[in-house]
């Protein structure tokens, strides 16, 4: 069996395995797996509304995945995507609601505000890591909580004791009547284009620029890079800031596209944490992140239709979805198995 065959077979087999085990779970619990998966499929691709909403769900996953993947490639573990996303969301909504500008200026400014807030939130852990060797995992986790509660307090102050911000002005909105009419009033917005542009940007940064080479090099081996004349501290901070900007953009997509405002939250959005899985599924490559985000976003949105169309309870649905992702993540084991089988055949 050729390498290429294995590369294509592995994800296919893992998805099939996940679906099979999921089917068993449904069957054992007394629900019809075929009905369940039909509902899942229709929930993702069933009509233009579903497709629009699925793409909407994928958008922040791509950006959160990029944020984690970028940090990974430079040897950093950014667990703070969640917090950076929350501050980015708030900053984007604030600029979107508080200023009155023409759309050509207002929309980019709001998006940039989101990115800048995320970058700023990641700058601090980067600085602490670069100057004092404080591990970024601890700092970023704690920064998540600070972000959550600081933003809640800001929303409360801004709204005069209320629990949500004002709505952004139309001039800062990513939504469009055209996309809405195309997809039967789904909340699909232009954010997906921004997300895809960022995929290209990350690839370009890492593969085609000196800066990207330095960043990766520091990630591979700090000491060797330093010997080679690179500034370690500067590169660590830069890596965190770029990663944080991606995360902030993910928040801006939620604020300017999906919701149009922000609520005080009792807990995290979960997008930032799912972003870690998205990045790992995509092997930390820009294109891989798209694949991971499509899988996560589709399953997450499509799963809503399983209780709706097939009467399967929410809890079972979550187990099934988790199983599919679990088996996809287990790709390495399947790869090992396949190569053993093909070796045996060669031996014969």
């Amino acid at each position: 069996m050729s390498n290429r065959m294995i590369n294509i077979l592995v994800p296919v087999i893992s998805v099939i395995l996940g679906l099979l085990v999921g089917a068993i779970v449904m069957a054992v619990s007394g629900y019809d797996p075929i009905l369940g998966y039909t509902a899942l499929w229709n929930g993702i691709f069933g009509d233009s509304y579903a497709i629009g909403e699925t793409i909407r769900q994928i958008t922040p996953y791509i950006l959160a995945g990029l944020a984690v993947a970028f940090a990974f490639r430079t040897g950093l573990f950014n667990i703070g995507v969640e917090g950076q996303l929350i501050v980015g969301w708030f900053a984007a909504v604030y600029v979107g609601a508080a200023f009155d500008l023409p759309k050509v200026i207002h929309l980019p400014l709001s998006i940039l505000a989101g990115a800048a807030a995320g970058a700023l939130w990641a700058f601090l852990p980067g600085l602490l890591k670069a100057k004092m060797k404080i591990h970024e995992v601890i700092v970023t986790i704690m920064m998540n909580y600070i972000a959550l509660h600081v933003v809640n307090a800001l929303i409360k102050t801004w709204s005069g004791g209320g629990d949500k911000t004002e709505r952004i002005l139309d001039s800062a909105s990513l939504r469009s009547d055209f996309l809405a009419s195309l997809t039967d009033y789904s909340r699909l917005h232009y954010g997906i284009i921004i997300a895809l542009m960022m995929v290209v940007l990350m690839w370009f940064l890492l593969e085609k620029t000196t800066m990207g080479f330095e960043l990766k090099s520091v990630g591979f081996n700090e000491n060797a890079s330093e010997y080679g004349g690179m500034k370690i501290g500067k590169n660590i901070i830069l890596a965190m800031v770029i990663s944080g900007a991606f995360a902030g953009l993910a928040g801006a997509m939620e604020g300017l596209g999906t919701f149009g405002n922000m609520y005080t939250r009792g807990g995290f959005t979960g997008i930032g944490f799912d972003g870690i899985a998205v990045a790992l599924l995509g092997a930390n490559t820009p294109l891989g992140v798209i694949f991971g985000a499509v899988l996560f976003g589709s399953l997450k949105y499509g799963a809503l239709n399983m209780p709706n169309a097939a009467q399967i309870p929410e809890e079972i649905v979550q187990i099934v979805i988790a199983l599919v992702i679990f088996f996809v993540a287990c790709g390495y084991a399947i790869r090992l198995l396949l190569s053993k089988i093909s070796k045996k055949k060669e031996a014969k």
Binding site: F45, E53, G266, G267, G282, L287, F291
Partner: protein
């Protein structure tokens, strides 16, 4: 290199899936629409009702559960079955699910769709303006659309009675209030409770705490621990799942020392079962918020063609929207009589319970 090519191939495959899916959908849409038309042609007079839950789900022992009970009762009373054309619910896992869920139920041709919880306000506003043929109703918030009814409760009135009960029953002259998140709804609970306590005896201390979340039982438990340790003997919680922590702290104290004077006043549903410790119980009473009665009431009106679209209905003591649960002997007869007196005074309008706690009035 191979990995990258494979990734490309896969994303092309997925993109193709999306496009092909889009191609197929045209026909699907058409056939679905036909089905809808045929379906509605057959049963134009049939009334169906559904609801979208908040993140709590229909077994949250609180208002989602209560709303679902109202829909089930209505369904049984009218010989309806669970599913399309009868009654059903969808659960939201997060805020991003409200709109798809409301939309899904409207597309399944339910005549009336409830949104449970103030968090759904914006989502319902948007969907109601798009799905003009469906009737909507929201609980705990106001949606200004001609096809949407708004249901509010006078939580302050029921909480006032809870405050009176706590003030009459406390021995340490210290009572506590544990709120979920600070918002207008929970502020009405706090305001009513404090006013009720002070009406009986202005000297009694009320320790007011907010947990900042509705699903953090561990925070509720810590707060209850602190309150009971400082001498508080009755805690009223308006904190959903967080309040379960208040119950577990009280139960632990009761289990360790059967003579411990610790009580909890439950919220939304009758939480008597939550407070059972062996043969005793720590539940003094519960402040009932009869979402089920409101849901049934609005469903009935809608079925009769008298759906109050664009209107706001407020359910208070007089409408049986709020009340105290049976204390099952925890509150003695003579105290119950005093509570009844206050109840009559509120109903007659002699006592007007403040809607906002002191210093928490909305800035306008």
């Amino acid at each position: 290199m191979a990995k990258r090519k494979f990734g490309l191939a896969l994303s092309v495959l997925l993109a193709a899936g999306t496009l092909l899916g889009a191609c197929g959908s045209g026909n699907d849409d058409a056939s679905k629409d036909n089905g809808k038309k045929e379906g509605s042609g057959e049963k134009t007079s049939e009334f169906s009702v559904a609801m979208v839950t908040d993140v709590g789900g229909i077994d949250d022992k609180s208002f989602n559960q209560s709303a679902w009970k109202g829909i089930q009762d209505f369904g049984k009373a009218n010989d309806m079955e669970k599913g399309d054309g009868g009654y059903d619910y969808l659960q939201s896992a997060g805020e991003e699910d409200y709109i798809p869920n409301l939309n899904a139920l409207a597309r399944r041709d339910f005549s009336l769709v409830f949104g449970v919880g103030f968090m759904m306000q914006d989502a319902m506003d948007e969907i109601a303006s798009q799905q003009k043929d469906t009737e909507f109703a929201i609980i705990d918030a106001v949606v200004d659309q001609p096809n949407a009814a708004s249901i509010l409760f006078k939580e302050q009135e029921g909480s006032y009675l809870a405050g009176v009960a706590a003030a009459l029953m406390t021995e340490s002259k210290k009572v506590g209030f544990v709120g979920g998140m600070e918002n207008e709804v929970i502020h009405r609970f706090e305001s009513g409770f404090v006013a009720g306590v002070k009406a009986v005896d202005p000297e009694i201390d009320v320790d007011v705490q907010y947990a900042g979340a509705f699903d953090k039982a561990e925070i509720g438990k810590t707060m209850a621990n602190r309150m009971y340790s400082s001498g508080v003997d009755i805690i009223f919680h308006a904190a959903g799942g967080t309040g379960n922590g208040v119950f577990s702290e009280a139960k632990e104290r009761k289990a360790a020392d059967a003579d411990a004077n610790v009580w909890v006043i439950g919220v939304d549903s009758d939480q008597y079962d939550e407070g059972a410790v062996g043969d005793t119980n720590v539940t003094l009473t519960s402040m009932l918020k009869r979402v089920d009665i409101a849901v049934e009431d609005i469903s009935k009106r809608a079925k009769e063609g008298k759906f109050p679209g664009g209107e706001t209905h407020v359910y208070g003591l007089s409408e049986d929207g709020v009340d105290l649960a049976d204390s099952r002997g925890a509150i003695p007869e003579d105290v119950m009589k005093k509570i009844e007196d206050y109840k009559e005074k509120i109903k007659s309008g002699e006592i007007e319970v403040p809607e906002y706690p002191e210093g928490k009035e909305p800035k306008k």
